[in-house]
Structures are given as C-alpha cells and as structure tokens.
C-alpha cells in the first residue's frame, strides 16, 4: 500500500521533472556518443568466464607424450528455472558418458531436462566441429552444475493489504565435456571399509608406554 501510494505521487513528480529537463535533453542529445559512452554498465552480465576457457591454447605435445584429452566448456544463461531444481539434474548426469546422459535426460519429466539435453547436444556438435574431437560418442560429462541467474522482483499480494517481494527465478547451466571414456569409480564394499578400519587401529602408536 505504501508502495502504491508512492507511485501515484512519483508519477506526478516525474512529469514535473521531465518538463523541466526537456530543455536539457536537447543539449544532451546533441553531445557526441563518445562522451556518453564513458558511462559504466554492469560488468556481471557481460563476463563469460566459462566460455573463455574454450579459448585457451595449449603448446604442441611431443610425439612420445600421452595425448591431452579435449575439453569443451558450454553454458546457457538465464534459463527460466530454479537453480535448486536444476542442481538435481546436473548431479544426476555428472560422470556419465554423453550418450547415457542424453538418454537419461530425454526420459526425465522435468522442464530443466529438456533444456539440459539441448545444451549437451550443442556441446557435442561444437566438440566435433570446432574442437577437433574425433568420435562424438567418446565424450563424458566431467563437470556439470547450475548457478543463480539474474532475478526479477515482483510483488506478491497477501491478505489484509500486506505484500511481499516475489522472486522470478532464473538460472545458468554450465557443462564441461572431456574426450575419452568416463572414469571408473572404484566401488568400495563393506569388507574394504572394515579392512581399512582394522588397519587404522593397528597403525596407532601408543606414546609414553613401556
């Protein structure tokens, strides 16, 4: 209610102000654009560090060295989805091969899954065309995570004339594909854990003993 009252007064104020500023506008427009371009715009929207990792050039390898696996970084910004909901999908595909990841996302019912699948296919396409990857299936998801995008704020009206600020959520999604088969994580059984525990107990040293 307080905000509503402010806007009515504010509009009238703006009208008065704009009338007085009208004469100034002509002078400002007449100024050359170079002088106005020194105004600072927010840097966060333009900085795309994740994509810049694609521009790093490595020195040539000697013939006896092991081949460096190709890495492709891709991101999609301002997806209309929650970053927490996106995280679940990102965690699901971490460490899978690209074919498996695409298959899992295709049959997932979430909204973010469709967008994520597009991003993965785009990354695979770019890998083959621009980053000299030989086989398009020979890729796996090394890193995949979601980040907070820029939110819009809206008013949510409650009862009794109260209102709160509602966030219209947006998120970014980042993925890094690496060439090669997905790394195999060694599965630890209960017996391995028990063996390690017993060994730890045996490795203890008792100080100041006889």
């Amino acid at each position: 209610m307080a905000t509503a009252a402010m806007t009515v007064r504010g509009v009238a104020f703006i009208r008065n102000m704009s009338a007085s500023f009208h004469c100034r506008f002509q002078a400002l427009i007449g100024r050359c654009p170079q002088q106005l371009s020194c105004l600072h715009t927010s840097a966060l929207l333009e900085s795309k560090t994740w994509e810049r990792r694609n521009l790093k050039v490595f020195p040539p390898q000697k013939p006896d060295e092991a081949l460096r696996p190709a890495e492709i970084h891709l991101s999609r910004r301002q997806i209309k989805y929650s970053k927490d909901k996106m995280w679940y999908l990102a965690k699901m595909i971490r460490g899978l091969s690209i074919d498996q990841a695409v298959a899992q996302l295709e049959f997932n019912d979430k909204k973010g899954a469709k967008i994520m699948k597009e991003v993965l296919l785009e990354a695979q396409d770019k890998a083959v065309k621009h980053h000299h990857v030989e086989f398009k299936s020979n890729l796996y998801v090394a890193e995949s995570f979601s980040g907070k995008g820029r939110y819009l704020k809206r008013l949510r009206y409650h009862g009794r004339g109260m209102c709160g600020v509602m966030d219209k959520v947006y998120c970014h999604y980042f993925v890094k594909l690496v060439e090669g088969p997905p790394p195999r994580t060694e599965e630890r059984t209960g017996l391995d854990e028990a063996r390690d525990y017993v060994q730890k107990l045996r490795d203890r040293t008792i100080i100041h003993s006889l």
């Binding site: 703006i14 102000m17 704009s18 500023f21 009208h22 506008f25 002509q26 400002l28 427009i29 654009p33 106005l36 371009s37 105004l39 600072h40 715009t41 927010s42 929207l45 521009l55 790093k56 050039v57 490595f58 020195p59 040539p60 390898q61 013939p63 081949l67 460096r68 696996p69 190709a70 890495e71 301002q78 980053h131 000299h132 030989e134 086989f135 995008g149 820029r150 939110y151 819009l152 947006y170």
Partner: protein, 315 residues
C-alpha cells in the same frame, strides 16, 4: 556523474547511439527503448525480453519518437568496399599437366615449352604495362622477391603477427590464410628451393574505370617445405615435423599499380586440376551416406563414395 543521473543518461545514450544503426535494430529486444525516461527510479538489474514486442513493432514507432521530441540521426546504409586489392584472379594461368615431372628434352616437354611461349604474348604486354608504372620491375628479380615475400608471409602466419601479415598479403588472401587458425599452432619451415622461381604469367586487370590498373603476376615455385598443424590441445592434426615434402606451387602476386605506395603482395594460389591429393587429416571423419527410407537397408557392396571433380581452383 551523480548516481541518480546515470540511469537517465544511459537511456539517452541508448536512444542516440542505437539510432545510428538500422531503424529496426534500434529496438534492442533486451533493453527496449522506453518512451518515458527514468529519473531516480529503482535500479533494475535484469530486464527480460519484453512481452508483446511483436505487436509494438508493427505500430508506427518512428512517429512516436519524433512526437516525443527525440531527434534521430541520419542513418547511412553503407557497405565498405576494399579497393586496395581485386576480388580474385583474372585470366588465371592454367598450369600444363605433368609440369614438374617431365624433362625439357622429351617430346611432351617440348610441347609444353612451345605452349608457354605462345601464352606469353599477353603476359609481355602486361609486363610492359607494369614497367610503365614501376620502372624498376624486372622479371628475374621479381621472382626472387616473390619467394622472399612468400616465406616471410608464412613465417608471420606461424607467429600470427597480424600487422606484418596484412602488409605482405592482400585483403582477399588474408581470410583464406587465417580462417580457422586462430586457436591452432602452426609449425612451418621452408627448407630449400629445388628450382629457381619463375614468372609464368602476368596480367593487368582494371577495376571500375579503365585507368585503375592492378598488376597480377603468377610465379611458379618448386620447393621443399615442412608443415605441422597442432590443434588447441597440442595434438598433431596434419603433417609431420621431420619429413619435408616437395611442393610445386603457383602463386599469384598483386599490386595496385596506380597507387605510388602500393607494394607486391601475395594474392592467392592456383591449385591445378591434376594436383595430387593431399595427405589426409589425422582424424576419422564421417561421410554422410545415402538417405534411406525406413524399410530400406544400406547396400554396402555397391556403395560409392562420391569423388570431387578434378577442377582447377584458387586458394
């Protein structure tokens, strides 16, 4: 600038600067041009693409802007044209078949020599025209100079020295040399020249008006070179560092004769139709097969990979 005025000036900046471009492009979808200018409003960190922009685009926006009193600058629909080099190779030299493989003493070699002498009438005329503009031009010296330009240009390409490359190579040749090479490492070495470079053809095309002459000279070079291209990750893509190859090249050099500050620059390369196939890339490449209906099966026995036509082309 005081903080409250900053947003106002930003809007004005957008109005004036964006109006320099196309009238339709001035309506940037990310930051729509408001007809009311904000003064001391809450800072919006993110403005989404406006809903209903399509309906707004159809209305007469220009009249509204003029009515609001905002003066829009004159927009010039310009397209830059480069006049320091021509767009291609005019009356290209057609290298005789089996050029570096036949000796002059055999019957085929004699035939080639006679054909070359016949072709050179037009070339002599062109060389006379070039000497008219540049009195110090000599065919033999020029061939040596051309080879030096070629070696320097390729060395600049390996170091990716843009300024030097622009001075040694014309604007038409530059994108062809550098396309796709930005994030790759190139190791190129010129080992030796097997035969002295020879001027085989000269032509003087003109652009737009009769007096605007450009000189194009084709030089034949037979040399030993090594080439190795590494991709972004340092893996060998093409070629070999140790084994040199014999390369027969037909290079075209160009100069804007009428310009007193013009210099001879590499303009392009002629790849003859009988050139041997190059070494393949160190990579498995997928060739798309024939389009099949769901019920058909691929006939792998009768499948023929289409081979490219043997045509002379220009690099």
């Amino acid at each position: 600038m005081a903080a409250p005025m900053r947003r106002t000036l930003q809007v004005l900046h957008r109005l004036t600067c964006s109006s320099l471009t196309n009238a339709e492009a001035s309506l940037d979808l990310r930051h729509p041009v408001p007809l009311s200018i904000p003064v001391r409003t809450k800072k919006r960190y993110f403005i989404p693409p406006a809903v209903g922009m399509k309906s707004k685009m159809e209305e007469n926006i220009e009249a509204k802007i003029r009515a609001a009193g905002v003066v829009v600058k004159q927009e010039y629909m310009e397209r830059p044209i480069n006049i320091s080099c021509t767009a291609g190779v005019y009356d290209a030299y057609i290298p005789p078949e089996g050029d570096a493989r036949l000796s002059t003493l055999s019957k085929e070699g004699l035939k080639q020599r006679t054909e070359q002498i016949r072709q050179s009438a037009a070339s002599q005329l062109a060389i006379r025209k070039i000497k008219g503009h540049d009195s110090l031009f000599k065919t033999k010296e020029f061939a040596e100079q051309a080879q030096e330009i070629f070696i320097e240009a390729h060395n600049a390409l390996t170091q990716f020295n843009k300024a030097k490359l622009h001075s040694l190579v014309t604007e038409r040749c530059y994108p062809e040399m550098t396309r796709g090479n930005r994030y790759k490492t190139i190791h190129w070495r010129f080992i030796e020249s097997l035969e002295p470079p020879k001027v085989v053809q000269a032509r003087c095309p003109d652009m737009v008006s009769k007096d605007n002459l450009y000189g194009q000279v084709t030089v034949r070079m037979h040399s030993k070179q090594t080439l190795a291209i590494y991709d972004r990750f340092g893996r060998l893509m093409l070629g070999c560092e140790e084994h040199p190859k014999d390369v027969l090249e037909y290079l075209v050099f160009e100069r804007h004769l009428v310009n007193p500050y013009g210099c001879w620059r590499l303009h392009g390369k002629i790849v003859p139709s009988w050139a041997p196939a190059k070494d393949p890339v160190i990579k498995t490449v997928m060739i798309p097969g024939p389009k099949l209906r769901p019920e058909d099966e691929l006939d792998a026995v009768n499948l023929q990979v289409p081979k490219p036509a043997a045509v002379q082309w220009y690099k």
